[in-house]
Amino acid sequence: MSPWWWTPIASNWGFIDNTIIITFWITGVVFVAVILFTAYCVLRYRYREDRRAEYEPEDKKLEWWLTGLTAVGVAAMLIPGLFVWNQYVNVPPGAAEIEVVGQQWQWSYRYPGKDGVMGTSDTRLISGDNPFGLNPNDPNGQDDVLIEGDDLHLPLGGPIKVLLRSIDVLHDFYVPQFRAKMDMVPGLVTYFWLTPTRPGTFDILCFELCGVGHHAMRGSVVVEKKEAFDGWLQEQETFAQTMARVKQGSEQAANLALNAATPVAAGARPTR
């Protein structure tokens, strides 16, 4: 953490940093030039009783020159900027998909599972048992891996398309070291993409005001080697497994209620 430079980058978006640096130098030179010239004028042309200001209302040549030079400077910043933006909005083919879900005031994550395809989802389907609102009848969603209340894990080195979803208000998923961000809007699925380039654990912050807990909406992302990531993902429960457990749990709960009502069966304890 050097206080003399911005936060070190951990993704492929070095292009963004470069565009900032180009902008910094072009605008910096203009700023210094304008300020120095102003200072010169103020010092050189201080009021004297015996002097009159020059009367030359217009100088078309000078004005055209200044307009032209400014336009060139602006283009020198805009063109690289648009070039990089074109990369930003076009996700490279074959990028792995993950989903981040925001709600007041926590992050949850979803991986597409073995089939590589995420199941469909709908806010209307959200319930205590189905916090992501996944469609239980969608075969693509059965092997999806859901992470709640834990860190996000990302594999190093490959492009990742981050799908963004919110179930209540606006949020914004941002990791300062990644440089890339996008708002999460209820009713929409938004996205950005990145390639993590540096292993480590980084802070996730909410970057769009989302109510009184906004500043506390934090998380962590662990960027690790592909093998470590795959190992971690293997250990996670799939949506189908979760639903089965939930179903089993609710059957047991029903049984328990039944048992309580019929003392005869009270000895048959359900096992976990």
Partner: protein, 601 residues
């Protein structure tokens, strides 16, 4: 023959229509309270705006205390903090700056500078102020309702703004929306007045291309406001319906805190489009009057004509027009279709060209001038430096891909405070130091003004330069507290504490200014009618302060532009707009006030 704006004419044709009749007050109440005199209305607007601005100042202290010294003040909870930032932002942008520039300076200066006796609809003008006052009172009332004022951020983004996770979602947000709607109604009444007065009530010889740039700035800003505020108005009405009647204009299907809500099918991004379709022109509604006024301050106090007047006028008009096609640069990461980024980044950076031209021409006005470092000039110079700074950081944020890491960081806070906070406020101060003698007949105290300038100017930099840096580090805005992160160095906390201390000092320095206003009204040096030896019509009135009707028995006749400083062949270094060409060489100012008959034509 006249082929350029700066050439003078010998003959001005007689007026085609007679003068309108003024309503003359019959009692103390109609003279000073329910007055229809634009000058009185201007002062009412200004005092109300400055009073509510002091509330915003105190709110900024509160938020700075929290940021500088987190976990120190038990009376600042997270709810309070979000309410402070919301109310601070909204008050500063709408209720202070918009009201002061258009309702205050617009009312005072338009009739005087175009050579009219008053606004064309004086009664509507009076209503405009009283509705504005009502809007301010409704806004203040939200501090006293259960749940307090809204803490949704000044952008009021739904769904958050009207849901229970946000402070003030009970009553505060409704009062905010109602107050905004009232403000817009009141503003529209005033705004129509300003536009029609500039277009229809200019005196003989005051062609559009002889208007002082102050008027061009205020006029264009008013046109923008009349076109932009309706978008906010409908947004406010639609959000009120969502909140009160359960409609879903901006509300999609939502599950909040585990509960399915009844909303469905609406679009939060739609509100953002409406808000910024208003919100971006709003930046120029504040900036254009500042551009205009500062041009005049620089010209008068540098004793030189504005350089490139025609280009300055066109730059104002082009900036105004372009300001309607850049709004979505506030929404690059909003989740709108990302392909919009190409269009809006391009339009946004194009707007930098006419803006840069204005800066060059201000500096070129100083060049080969005869510069008096009066108080208005100090503030004007402060404006140039600050505006260049704020404009340049705009080139970062406008360039879509650079905005991605910087959006919603402290860099944005620093940018908009420099460009539409500090810069226009420096112009407000400069303008008050400049026109106070006309309003009161007395000069403001100079040493007090210098203390005020240096603390405010240097203080603003001490506050906002560090915020640029924090933004580069990735420190978010609108955070009640940062707590520990892996990317913010410890020194950032010290920096925040430093910024807070400076903010308190700068705030206190404003009391020097307020004291000066009151003190000079009684003890200030008598100014006479034209202490700055300026050319525009407001300095040539029969009495100072000008009476009802502004001018003497005859209205002034305009022979030239407002920037005849250093005119070759003239006796003095300035030639008033209404001085007959025959008298330029002898510099006879006796007939300018309209008390004597104008020279025969």
């Amino acid at each position: 023959m006249v082929d350029a704006a700066h050439d003078q004419v010998d003959f001005v044709p007689p007026a085609e229509v007679g003068e309108m009749e003024l309503y003359h007050p019959k009692s103390w109440l109609t003279k000073y309270v329910f007055s229809q005199d634009a000058k009185v209305i201007a002062i009412q607007y200004s005092f109300t705006a400055i009073a509510i601005g002091m509330v915003a100042l105190v709110l900024s202290w509160m938020m700075r205390l929290q940021l500088g010294f987190p976990e120190t003040f038990s009376f600042i909870e997270a709810e309070d903090y979000y309410q402070f930032i919301t109310m601070h932002g909204m008050i500063m942008v709408i209720y202070l700056l918009t009201a002061l520039f258009l309702g205050g300076f617009g009312n005072y200066l338009i009739p005087l500078m175009v050579g009219a006796r008053d606004m064309v609809f004086p009664y509507v003008n009076m209503l405009s102020y009283w509705i504005y006052l009502l809007a301010v009172l409704v806004l203040l009332a939200s501090f006293f309702v259960p749940g307090g004022p809204t803490g949704a951020g000044w952008t009021l983004y739904p769904p958050q703004a009207i849901l229970s996770g946000t402070p003030g979602s009970e009553g505060g947000i409704l009062l905010m929306l109602i107050s905004l709607a009232l403000f817009i109604v009141g503003f529209t009444m005033g705004g129509l007045n300003y536009v029609v007065t500039v277009l229809q009530a200019r005196t003989r010889g005051m062609t559009l291309m002889r208007l002082p740039l102050t008027i061009w700035g205020i006029f264009t800003a008013t046109v923008l406001a009349l076109l932009a505020f309706p978008a906010l108005f409908v947004g406010a009405v639609m959000m009120t319906l969502d909140r009160m009647l359960g409609t879903s204009f901006f509300m999609p299907g939502i599950v909040q805190f585990g509960e399915q809500m009844q909303y469905g099918g609406g679009s939060p991004v739609l509100f953002q489009h409406l808000f910024w379709f208003f919100g971006h022109p709003e930046v120029y509604i504040v900036a254009l009057p500042a551009f205009g006024i500062v041009s005049d301050l620089i010209s008068v106090h540098a004793r030189r004509h504005v350089f490139g007047y025609r280009l300055m006028v066109w730059a104002i008009v082009i900036i105004g027009a372009l300001s309607f096609v850049v709004w979505a640069h506030h929404m690059y990461v909003s989740g709108m279709n990302p392909w919009f980024g190409f269009f809006f980044a391009t339009t946004t950076l194009i707007i930098a060209v006419p803006t840069a031209i204005k800066v060059y021409n201000w500096v070129l006005t100083l060049w080969r001038g005869n510069i008096k470092l009066t108080l208005p000039m100090l503030f004007a110079l402060g404006f140039i430096v600050t505006f260049v700074n704020g404009g340049i950081t705009g080139l970062f944020l406008g360039n879509v891909v650079v905005d991605v890491p910087l959006s919603d960081t402290m860099f944005v806070v620093a940018h908009f405070h420099m460009v539409m906070g500090v810069a226009p406020i420096l112009v407000v101060f400069g303008a008050i130091y400049h026109w106070y003698p006309k309003m009161t007949g007395r000069m403001l105290n100079v040493p007090m003004g210098q203390i005020h300038f240096w603390i405010t100017f240097l203080g603003a930099y001490a506050i906002f330069l560090p915020l640029h840096y924090l933004g580069f580090l990735g420190v978010p805005r609108r955070y009640y507290e940062m707590t520990d992160t892996s990317f913010i160095p410890q020194s950032a906390e010290t920096l925040n504490a430093f910024v807070t201390v400076i903010a308190l000092i700068v705030g206190v320095a404003q009391l020097v200014f307020l004291f000066n206003i009151g003190w000079s009204m009684v003890k200030g040096k008598k100014s006479g009618p034209n202490p700055w030896r300026a050319t525009s019509l407001e300095w040539q009135t029969a009495t100072t302060p000008p009476g009802h009707g502004n001018f003497g028995p005859t209205l002034p006749v305009v022979y030239r532009w407002a920037y005849a400083f250093g005119l070759p062949g003239a006796k003095d270094d300035y030639v008033p707009q209404n001085m007959h060409p025959d008298q330029v060489a002898i510099g006879d100012t006796a007939d300018l006030s309209g008390t004597a008959a104008q020279p025969a034509e």
